[in-house]
């Protein structure tokens, strides 16, 4: 089956094409086609996972030359190793759940078919990204994922906020991709290949200078920063919640945003060659995680809380991977790689579940504001428990899946005090804001009676995926139990397999931290023994800062967007006035110059011409008297000339007189006689007058 891995992305693509061109008008059929394809992909993925379990150290690779120029080859191919296999299963699982869920959630939407087409396109891109065997191909699907994300965030594009959000998401991730692109160029130039195996081999061989390696790694990481919404490019993800909730679950929680983490994990051989790059990764992860968690504490929009939670958890994973790279570069062992990828998997399940649950809640109460909810546990018998399971999982409560993966991350950070404290603080905040959300949503008295009255449990095709994911949220972590010998850590690893060992102290600490977070939330929002408002009032400055998300949007607006737009406007002015002005100015100068020329022409050049004309005309005024109009006069002239010509040509002699003399005499004779005629002409005229009188 592994040989046919390339089929996995193609199945959803087939669904996409079929829906767009053929079955668009048959809504339910489109949905079913889409679901059938993702289920088929899921089955294949599971089979591949099982096959891969048997061949951990022999990744399967298949490639086809996409562009083949001398010294420049671009490939399309598949690489199946444990990481790929796990990601395939995760993506197809969440994808299948979300698609089934969407049948209910998107019910009655006018663009129902299109939604499934987009989802299929997304799954195609995401699966392609996962199976890629080289950096070029991953970039292709990386961008396609961005496109589908754009389309899906903007699915309800009539809403201005959605239209803004999709653009923001695309452009912000593009900024990250810019770095990725530069990283790719560096890889292409210095490594001469894009293939993972080739690149990593060269990176490990020490041929490439360390500076280049660091730079390449950091640039590649830029891509992850954009896609995984890491600081400072995290701003798009909360806004992306304008899309339909299943989209948020699939793309902006479970899969696409995890692609950044996947990329870092995938290029880990690159990062382990550079401690600096890895440290940058880890620090960015920590900052992101802490910042997002702190913002999550005070938000009121259910999806935004989850979004910040996602950012925070992704930062967690990134940090773990970065720490692994840092450790390994210095020759230490670290559980970071295993921890990061493990958390990637478990997080996909419980965060997918959280979003789908949130979707179910929103479906029921038609609002996103948790301040308007409350007491919903009574109405939503299935949604509430599953949601709480996921919340427990993300809070890291034993023995749910989140506990196991989070524990490993804490273990990875344990050597570095700052990271350890940060990690625990984040875990605490996570537990707190998740349970704040839970308490406000499901417990207590309804704060908006009207909404509460109309709330109802979602249909079965929405709740069953919740249950399925809840099961996974509980159990998925058990593949990585520190006590089992052949667990996740020996399956997905980099370099040599890491043998996890149970560190009970750390387990206890992280459990206590998680529980205390929940307890604080319980006190504040369930028992209300500590007033949330009072706290907000007490730390007003901090509260405002957090509530406004550290003002990142405003800062970016002021620092980046406004200047760029102003600069663009300036450029346009520059273009229209200076450059085009120069062109038109040249034209104007030419015209002015030609004006001068015209003057010159009129008075000097044409003056000369006219002068010639004047001379000629004056001469002609004399000569015009020869123009008698009398045909005979002209004939006479001809005769005179003929005679002259004859005299000259044949050198006629009269009585020994040479021809020149003869000619002169002839001319003189003619002239004299003409003058004579002129004098006597009066007589002729008089005669003519008498004619007229007759």
């Amino acid at each position: 089956m592994t040989e046919y891995t390339f089929l996995i992305p193609l199945l959803p693509l087939f669904a996409f094409i079929m829906i767009v061109f053929f079955t668009r008008w048959k809504e339910m059929f489109s949905a079913l086609l889409s679901i059938a394809m993702i289920l088929a992909a899921w089955v294949m993925s599971v089979v591949i996972l099982i096959e891969t379990l048997g061949r951990i150290d022999e990744p399967f690779q298949w490639a086809y030359k996409f562009v083949n120029l001398p010294n420049f080859v671009l490939e399309i191919g598949t690489l199946v190793d444990p990481l790929t296999a796990v990601m395939l299963v995760v993506v197809t699982t969440v994808g299948a759940c979300v698609e089934i869920y969407s049948v209910g959630y998107m019910h009655n939407d006018p663009r129902f078919s299109r939604f499934f087409a987009y989802l299929s396109l997304f799954l195609f891109s995401m699966l392609g990204l996962v199976v890629a065997n080289n950096f070029f191909m991953i970039f292709i699907f990386w961008e396609l994922v961005g496109l589908t994300s754009y389309l899906l965030i903007g699915f309800w594009f009539e809403k201005k906020s959605a239209a803004d959000a999709c653009k923001k998401a695309f452009i912000t991730t593009r900024v990250g991709d810019l770095g990725f692109l530069v990283g790719l160029f560096m890889i292409g130039i210095y490594f001469g290949t894009f293939n993972y195996g080739g690149v990593f081999e060269i990176a490990g061989s020490g041929v490439i200078p360390a500076g280049i390696l660091t730079a390449a790694a950091i640039f590649v990481f830029c891509g992850a920063v954009g896609k995984s919404a890491q600081w400072p490019l995290h701003v798009w993800l909360p806004d992306a919640m304008e899309g339909p909730t299943p989209v948020s679950a699939l793309i902006h929680a479970a899969t696409m945003v995890a692609a950044g983490v996947y990329l870092v994990a995938r290029s880990m051989p690159l990062f382990v060659t550079s401690a600096e790059a890895s440290l940058v990764v880890a620090i960015i992860g920590l900052i992101t995680s802490f910042m997002a968690a702190s913002i999550g504490l005070v938000q009121n929009d259910i999806k935004r809380i989850l979004a910040y939670s996602t950012v925070s958890q992704l930062g967690y994973m990134i940090m773990a991977l970065g720490l692994y790279g840092y450790d390994t570069a210095q020759g230490h062992h670290s559980p970071g790689f295993y921890a990061g990828t493990f958390h990637l998997m478990t997080h996909a399940f419980f965060k997918g579940l959280l979003f789908l649950g949130a979707g179910s809640v929103i479906h029921a109460v038609h609002t996103n504001d948790i301040q308007e909810m409350g007491g919903l546990a009574r109405k939503m018998k299935l949604t509430a428990p599953t949601f709480m399971i996921a919340s427990l999982s993300i809070a890291g409560i034993f023995p749910l899946s989140g506990f196991w993966s989070k524990d490993e991350i804490v273990a990875a950070a344990s050597h570095y005090p700052i990271f350890l404290i940060g990690t625990l603080a984040i875990a605490f905040m996570t537990a707190f804001y998740m349970w704040r959300l839970c308490f406000l949503t499901f417990f207590g008295e309804p704060r908006d009676q009207h909404r509460f009255d109309h709330a109802h449990e979602s249909p079965k095709n929405m709740t069953y995926p919740l249950v399925f994911l809840a099961v996974l949220s509980i159990c998925a972590g058990w593949v990585g139990l520190p006590w089992i010998h052949k667990g996740f850590a020996t399956f997905v690893y980099h370099g040599e397999a890491y043998e996890p060992h149970a560190n009970y102290l750390l387990m206890a600490i992280s459990l206590i931290v998680g529980l205390s977070g929940i307890y604080l939330a319980y006190l504040m929002y369930y028992k209300k023994s500590i007033s949330a408002d009072a706290m907000a009032e007490k730390f007003k400055g901090l509260y405002k800062l957090l509530y406004n998300k550290y003002y990142f949007d405003e800062i970016y607006q002021k620092v980046v967007i406004d200047p760029v737009m102003a600069f663009a406007g300036l450029m346009w002015k520059f273009d229209a006035n200076v450059i085009d002005g120069a062109v038109n100015g040249t034209g104007w100068l030419t015209i002015k110059w030609s004006d001068i020329k015209e003057w010159f022409d009129t008075w000097i050049v044409d003056g000369a011409v006219n002068g010639c004309g004047w001379v000629v005309r004056q001469g002609a005024n004399i000569l015009r008297f020869m123009q008698t109009g009398s045909m005979q006069f002209y004939a006479l002239f001809i005769a005179v000339l003929v005679v002259l010509f004859g005299l000259y040509k044949f050198e006629v002699k009269f009585l020994k007189i040479g021809w020149p003399t003869v000619t002169i005499i002839f001319i003189l004779g003619v002239t004299l006689l003409a003058l004579l005629t002129r004098i006597t002409q009066i007589k002729f005229k008089a005669n003519r007058r008498t004619d007229g009188e007759e």
Binding site: G646, F654, G669, V670, D691
Partner: protein, 170 residues
């Protein structure tokens, strides 16, 4: 060959004198009459030169047709035959001088050329005696095209004359 005989000289004088009369007489009617005389004499010259057909044509066309036509024209354009009217224009003096010069220089040129070139030329064959027949044959063979063209020209001239001379109908 041989020298031109007395006939030639008589004819020459007649031609020149009558020709001069044509250009100088005041009465245009008389001019026409002298023209007839002149052309008639030229026909004589043609006979001397062995061009009998041409001589006949000369008499028929010029004397018989053209000159008569002119007399008709003179008579149609009334009141022009009187002697009172100035018949020459202001070019008379210059024209006369030029024409005399022309005549003298032409004759001198001819004499010079004759001495230089023509005199030494020999004639390949004498003029055929029955040259009317030859002429007719050539007209129908070698000079077919010019002949036809000239006939068309004549036709055109005829039509042109009719068109020009007829009275405007409206």
């Amino acid at each position: 060959m041989g020298e031109p005989g007395i006939v030639f000289w008589i004819l020459s004088i007649v031609i020149l004198v009558s020709g001069f009369m044509v250009v100088s007489l005041k009465n245009i009617f008389h001019c026409a009459l002298f023209l007839i005389l002149c052309l008639f004499s030229v026909a004589g010259i043609f006979i001397l030169l062995g061009a009998e057909f041409l001589a006949a044509a000369q008499v028929l066309i010029y004397v018989g047709a053209v000159a008569i036509l002119m007399i008709f024209a003179i008579m149609l354009t009334s009141n022009l035959a009187s002697e009172k009217i100035q018949q020459s224009n202001e070019n008379v003096l210059v024209g006369f001088f030029v024409c005399v010069t022309f005549a003298i220089s032409a004759v001198m040129l001819l004499a010079k050329t004759y001495e230089g070139v023509w005199g030494r030329m020999t004639i390949t064959e004498p003029l055929p005696s029955q040259n009317i027949a030859t002429l007719g044959k050539y007209l129908m063979t070698k000079f077919m095209l010019p002949f036809e063209v000239v006939s068309v020209l004549l036709l055109a001239a005829m039509i042109g004359a009719i068109v020009l001379a007829r009275k405007e109908s409206a």
